[in-house]
Symmetry: none
């Protein structure tokens, strides 16, 4: 792999995902850690990215940093733990659905070399899935620009053709009586349909999502297991109705 090619790949990765880990780049490129470090140094020298401990990030203007950058980095650790556990549930031969969203995205590096089929509506996921040589199907339909997810009736129809062993779904709200909710009705419809086509269903959510109710309900609590991170909240009301797996960060 030639230097410009490698560095281009790094830049793409940073651009798409805001941050990138050296380890992931080592996996994706097959180069050594040293080489990646050197590349990152050069790219930082050129002012094309920002070197950080363990990887690199987009350089952000002060204003951007305040608004959105902070938030996406904040829960990274919890998301990583949740993703790691979720990925461990997937066995060779499984056919799984990965919802769009950052937590499911974090699962992908842990799927490397598994003999599985992944179906997703998350367009951001596709690059990383490709890089990890995972057989991937994408739903067709309207591209929702803000979240880079596929939605709409087209996606629903594509979905009719598939049945999943396991699905991994994100939720914006989890509530003891109101179930699982998400802001966009179109996305909710997809999540609902996926759940109905899966043998085992998992909701991935960090602790900020509990006790929250968003606009559109897509399933009852008992229709899926919850994977979340460790925190102080009383989980018993949820545990009465479904399985809750708590991972420690």
């Amino acid at each position: 792999m030639l230097t410009p090619e490698r560095q281009q790949l790094i830049l793409e990765s940073v651009k798409n995902h805001h941050t990138v880990k050296i380890k992931d780049l080592v996996n994706q490129t097959g180069s050594s850690e040293s080489t990646i470090r050197r590349d990152l140094d050069q790219l930082e020298q050129k002012g094309l990215l920002q070197r950080v401990h363990g990887g690199a990030s987009l350089l952000q203007t002060a204003s951007e940093e305040l608004s959105m950058g902070e938030k996406s980095i904040k829960n990274a650790q919890e998301k990583e733990s949740i993703a790691l556990h979720a990925a461990s549930l997937i066995k060779d031969g499984d056919c799984v659905f990965l919802d769009a969203g950052s937590t499911t995205y974090a699962m992908i590096p842990h799927l490397r070399d598994k003999e599985i089929i992944v179906v997703t509506n998350g367009l951001n996921h596709l690059d990383l899935l490709s890089e990890h040589h995972i057989k991937t199907y994408v739903l067709g339909g309207l591209v929702k620009h803000r979240t880079q997810a596929v939605i709409g009736t087209g996606a629903m129809q594509t979905l009719q053709q598939y049945r999943f062993d396991k699905c991994f779904i994100g939720a914006n709200g989890i509530h003891a009586t109101d179930g699982y909710t998400t802001p966009d009705p179109e996305e909710a419809a997809i999540k609902q349909a996926v759940i109905h086509h899966s043998r085992q269903r998992y909701i991935l959510a960090d602790h900020t999502k509990f006790e929250q109710v968003s606009f559109t309900k897509f399933a009852e609590l008992h229709e899926a297991d919850i994977i979340t991170d460790d925190f102080e909240l009383e989980l018993n009301p949820y545990k009465e109705k479904t399985t809750v797996k708590v991972v420690t960060t």
Copy 2:
């Protein structure tokens, strides 16, 4: 193998793959390493590519590296002209299909602010379409890793739902009697289906594609108009059978 022929091949290779290794060129041409080195030096001298350790890459301006949304717009001046003309054919209200591939990709910046609907099977296209706020539908189906295109029966089924005012298709080979051809049968099937669902059909191809025949035929010459760039080749055999629009670079 003659020098101009060899150098042309090198340029094509760089254009198509963004970077190229000397070893690969040695294999492809059967020439020695020394010869390839000399060619690369000459081509760099002429400003046609960028020499790098182990091979060569496209020359990129710093601004391109930064924006990079438009990465795969190789230096291809021809492609740019072709794309520009093709884009000018699209009117507000049109519903168009954009094939995967770099020439159709180059059309996207010229579609900004048009009131249109785009359907595509090119995953690389989606980012740029988003950036330009174009309403976009993507075909569903198997993700072909190498070309980042969607293929397979899933894509074919998604396609059944759509009818297009215009479609813009790439071809690897154009031949007076063998029609339009492309290497991958799966991709050919998509192209064929798209053509049958479009009122107006355009094939985008730079001059290197003429007199070429690739593995899978997806349409007869007369089934689509050709948009290509200016060159010395005798076009009459083609003009007898279909409309050929030649744009000057």
